[in-house]
Every structure is written in structure tokens, then in C-alpha cells.
Amino acid sequence: MARYELRFSGAGGQGLITAGIILAEAASIHEGKQAVQSQSYGPEARGGASKSEVIIDDVPVDYPKATKVDALLALTQEACDKYSADLKDGGILLYDTDLVTRLPEGNFKKIGFNIINTAKNEVGREIVANIVALGAMIALTGVVSRENGEKAVLSRVPEAFLELNKKAYAAGFEKALAASK
């Protein structure tokens, strides 16, 4: 595959940096591709627009940041407004339908579902919203296999939360597929 750029964006504290790390680990460690994960965030511990970027390639990744984003996740309106400008033509925007109501203009696929609400009310804990989103991003992009994505999630999670995260990942994966039909 050629260079593929993903960006996870939202508010600080939503676990987006972790989601990026898990995806990059899935690609780099479990799938044997080349991957770089980077992040930018404000000085606040919570809130503020936050983004995590993952570049995946078959050859070593030189520039570690996004140039033209292939797939963007937006979990807040602020992040969507701030980070969608460099989304590629034909790219993918995944957004939370409860929190992002004004969608950017552009020639890309816009796929939404209630990501945070799914974590809170269907999976059972809002804290796994990032894993719901990760499952959805993997379903929509196919950038790593479903199995390798799940392996990377489970290798990062404490024993007591394995089932919760497995359920979150599956919910995100299925809901994204349904929403993209």
C-alpha cells in the first residue's frame, strides 16, 4: 500500500492519542507495516482541541505528520472545524452525529453515528468511546485487519477490562459498516 494518513481528533481526555497509538501498533507490530504516530495537544490536561495522527506505509515513513488526510475522525465540532481542511478528495470523515452537527463542505465520504452514546449506553462505559471510534476507523479504512486491530487493543488493556474493550471495538466496527451502507 502507498502512504496512508489517519487523524483522530476531538477534545483532550477523550483517549484519541491512545486510539492512534493502538492503530499504529496494530500496523507496525501486528501487521509488519511501517507506522509513525504523533500528536499535538494544548497545555490543558482536559478539553482543548486534540489530535493524534498515524501514518502507515510499506516503506519507512519520512515526514511523520499528515500532508493530505485520507481518513479523519472528529469527536467534537471544534475539532471537526479545525482539522478537516486538509482532508483528501475521496477521503473519509467519520464523526459523532450527536456532537458534530455542522459538516464541512468537500468531496469526501461523510459517515456518522452516535459514537460516544454507543460507548455509554450500549457498551456500558463512556471511557471506551475511543475504542468504539477505533473499531469504526478500521472498518471504514481497512488499513489493518479486524483481527490485528483487536489484538492491538487487547494487548494494551488491563485484564479486568478485556471484555469491555472487545465489546466496544466490535460495536464500533459493526456500526460503522452499517452507517456506510
Binding site: I21, A24, E25, S28, I29, Q34, A35, V36, Q37, S38, Q39, S40, Y41, G42, P43, V61, D62, Y63, P64, K65, T67
Partner: protein
């Protein structure tokens, strides 16, 4: 057996690289964007009988670092711009008293508190000239997570070999990005330890040049006692103002580095063989430059990159040679023109020099470099 692999941040790799090099002492004070080094070493050092100290501030941390190093330990501190400023007096003390140690400084926006979470490359001159007086400086510039691991090992080797503080200067992007690291096996990378005295304690002098430009260093607590001061000193370590000693000592301390410059200076040449334009880059900016050079080559432009791996001592000889071959240098850097002045000094008017300078907390992107390549006449 396959090697151990992990997906790590630059800062985490720095911590594991230090352990590989034999670091058993860390003194520091947490500061964004370098704190992960402290996090890892506070967990790992106690497991191997090492010591981790979080001091009351950056100054105390540098003082503790020098003390640990004089007690025979391989000693590391990690910091960022404001901390590097505070450490300068004691870095100078490390230079004159010839104390081996490694200062890992993650470059963020400045001056002062600047932008704690934003990337920068604006501490390169501070590493060289932040402390007053004539002194030699060694500063290494990693561009990847793997290289951060390996450069920390090299920094310890250079510190131990030349008995002086050595800087490692990743920018915030290299320090915080994550990549796959393949851990070297024991023995795979060279590990150098300082030369211990060959004479009994009664005959030992800490600056005895009959053993060469880098006199052996005894460890406090090993039976040897000697005087350590920030004043100019005699071979036994006691202060002097005698002209013949002071002049010779100052010159020797700089000669340690200048006489070994070819061994110390490391660099990478990328597509330079037939290049008419040379991008001089370092740290994460070299990754943008590599992308740009590849893209410009596809458009038929003869451009290459000289990647600085050892920033100090500066690769004068290599840049001078290139200045006779290329039409122009492009120097992208996340400061307002620190490396480009050095390139200009070496080029001596023989090539055009175009800087790309960003201090807004954003990386220099490949597109900016491609545009600049097209401006070279």
C-alpha cells in the same frame, strides 16, 4: 531468536538507550516535553540498583548529576529549554572540571516558557554557548525513535571517552512521536567506560596530562580523593591563576574535541552525488526534507540532503566541500536561522543560502521545502 521489538516514544527510547549504555543514575526535574524519560527511569533504575532523584529544581538536578558522575556513575538528566537555561552554570562547571554526563534536552518553543507542547529547534546555540567561557561542546541530533535510542548510547560513549558533558537535542516531534524500535542485543552497540586511574591513590592527580589529553578519572568512594573546583586548576585539581597552566588547560579541553573531530562528527548524505542543490537538515525537519528531496527528484530537480547528526562540533569540513559543488543550500529549521548562520560561515560566499524558518509551533512541511528548492537560481 528474533530481537525484542516495541512501539515507543522517542523519550521512552532515550530512557532504554541510557540503560543499555550502563546509566545507573538519573537526576532531573519534570518538564514538558521530556517528562517521559523520568517516568521510565523512575520505574526502571531501582530494579537494577540504580538511583533516580527528582530534585527541587533544574539547577539542583544538574548539581546532583555532576555529583553522581563523580561518584563513578553514568549519569543522565532530561530537560527542556527553560531547564537548559537554568542548568547552564553547572554545565560550565562540568566542562571545566571535566565531568562526563549526558544532558538530554527536548527542544520546545522559547525563549522562556514559550510553547511547552510545541516543537522547536531553537536550543542549538544555547547548547553551544549557553554557558560562558571557551569550552568544547558535543551535541547530537536524533531524527527517529530508533536513532534516539542509539544516540543516547553514543552520547554516553563520547562523554566517557572525552570526559565532558554531552548534549542530545531531539525536537519535540522526535521526542513524542512513536515508532517501532528494535532493541539491540547486549554487545551489539559499542559501550565505552571512562578510564580509571592506573596509579595508587597517593600518586593520583585528576588532571595529569602525562596520561594524555583526557586524564583518567577516579570515582569518589573508591579510595581516591581529589579536589574539584570551577576555578582554573593545576593537575592536582587545586586552583591556580598561573598563566602557563591556565592557557594550556583551556586549550587542552577544546583540543580533546577538535583533535578527534572526524571521529565525533557523524552525518548522512542523501542523493548528494549529482546534486546541484543541497538541503541541510537535522532532527524531525530532515524527515520533511527527505520527503521533499524525493518529490523534487521525481520532477527532475537535482537535489540532495546533508543530514546533520552531530550538530556540535559543526560539520565544517563537509559543508565547505559541498559549497564548492552545489549552487545553493536550503536550511529548513524550527528557529529563526541558527544553523543557516553556521552554513553561511562554512560556505564562505561560494553558494546561495536560503533559510526556511518556522517558530509557530508547527513543523516545516515538505511542500515548503519543495517550493524553496524551486527558488534556487
Amino acid at each position: 531468536m528474533s530481537k525484542k521489538v516495541a512501539f515507543l516514544q522517542g523519550n521512552e527510547a532515550a530512557a532504554y538507550g541510557a540503560l543499555y549504555a550502563g546509566c545507573t543514575f538519573f537526576a532531573g526535574y519534570p518538564i514538558t516535553p521530556s517528562t517521559e524519560v523520568s517516568e521510565v527511569l523512575s520505574a526502571e533504575l531501582p530494579k537494577i540498583g540504580g538511583k533516580f532523584i527528582q530534585m527541587e529544581d533544574e539547577i539542583g538536578a544538574m548539581a546532583a548529576l555532576l555529583g553522581g558522575a563523580l561518584a563513578g556513575k553514568k549519569a543522565l538528566t532530561s530537560t527542556s529549554g527553560p531547564g537548559l537555561s537554568l542548568k547552564q552554570e553547572l554545565i560550565g562547571y562540568g566542562c571545566i572540571a571535566e565531568i562526563p554526563c549526558v544532558v538530554y534536552n527536548v527542544m520546545r518553543g522559547g525563549p522562556s516558557t514559550g510553547m511547552p507542547t510545541g516543537p522547536s529547534q531553537s536550543d542549538v546555540m544555547c547548547a553551544k554557548w549557553g554557558t560562558h567561557g571557551d569550552h568544547a561542546t558535543i551535541a547530537l541530533m536524533p531524527a527517529s525513535v530508533q536513532e534516539t535510542y542509539e544516540m543516547i548510547v553514543r552520547a554516553f560513549n563520547l562523554a566517557e571517552k572525552y570526559r565532558m558533558p554531552v548534549h542530545v537535542l531531539p525536537d519535540e516531534i522526535v521526542a513524542h512521536m512513536r515508532e517501532r524500535v528494535v532493541f539491540p542485543e547486549p554487545g551489539e552497540l559499542e559501550v565505552i567506560n571512562r578510564t580509571a586511574p592506573s596509579v595508587p591513590p597517593a600518586e593520583y592527580k585528576p588532571y595529569d596530562t602525562k596520561f594524555g589529553d583526557v586524564p583518567p578519572l577516579a570515582a569518589f568512594g573508591s579510595g581516591y580523593k581529589f579536589h574539584v573546583t570551577g576555578l582554573n586548576k593545576l593537575p592536582d585539581g587545586f586552583p591556580t591563576t598561573k598563566a602557563e597552566y591556565v592557557q594550556a588547560e583551556e586549550e587542552r579541553q577544546i583540543r580533546k574535541v577538535t583533535a578527534n573531530i572526524d571521529e565525533i562528527v557523524e552525518f548522512e548524505e542523501f542523493m548528494l552525488d549529482d546534486a546541484e542543490i543541497c538541503v541541510v537538515a537535522y532532527g524531525s525537519t530532515s524527515r520533511s526534507a527527505r520527503y521533499a528531496v524525493n518529490a523534487a527528484r521525481e520532477q527532475g530537480i537535482k537535489v540532495g540532503m546533508f543530514r546533520i547528526k552531530t550538530f556540535w562540533p559543526f560539520p565544517d569540513k563537509q559543508i565547505k566541500a559541498l559549497a564548492g559543488k552545489v549552487k545553493g543550500f536550503i536550511v529548513p529549521e524550527m528557529n529563526l536561522g541558527m544553523c543557516s548562520l553556521e552554513v553561511e560561515r562554512c560556505a564562505q560566499g561560494k553558494a546561495q543560502i536560503l533559510g526556511i524558518n518556522r517558530v509557530d509551533g508547527e513543523p516545516i512541511n515538505p511542500e515548503q521545502i519543495i517550493e524553496k528548492i524551486k527558488e534556487v537560481k
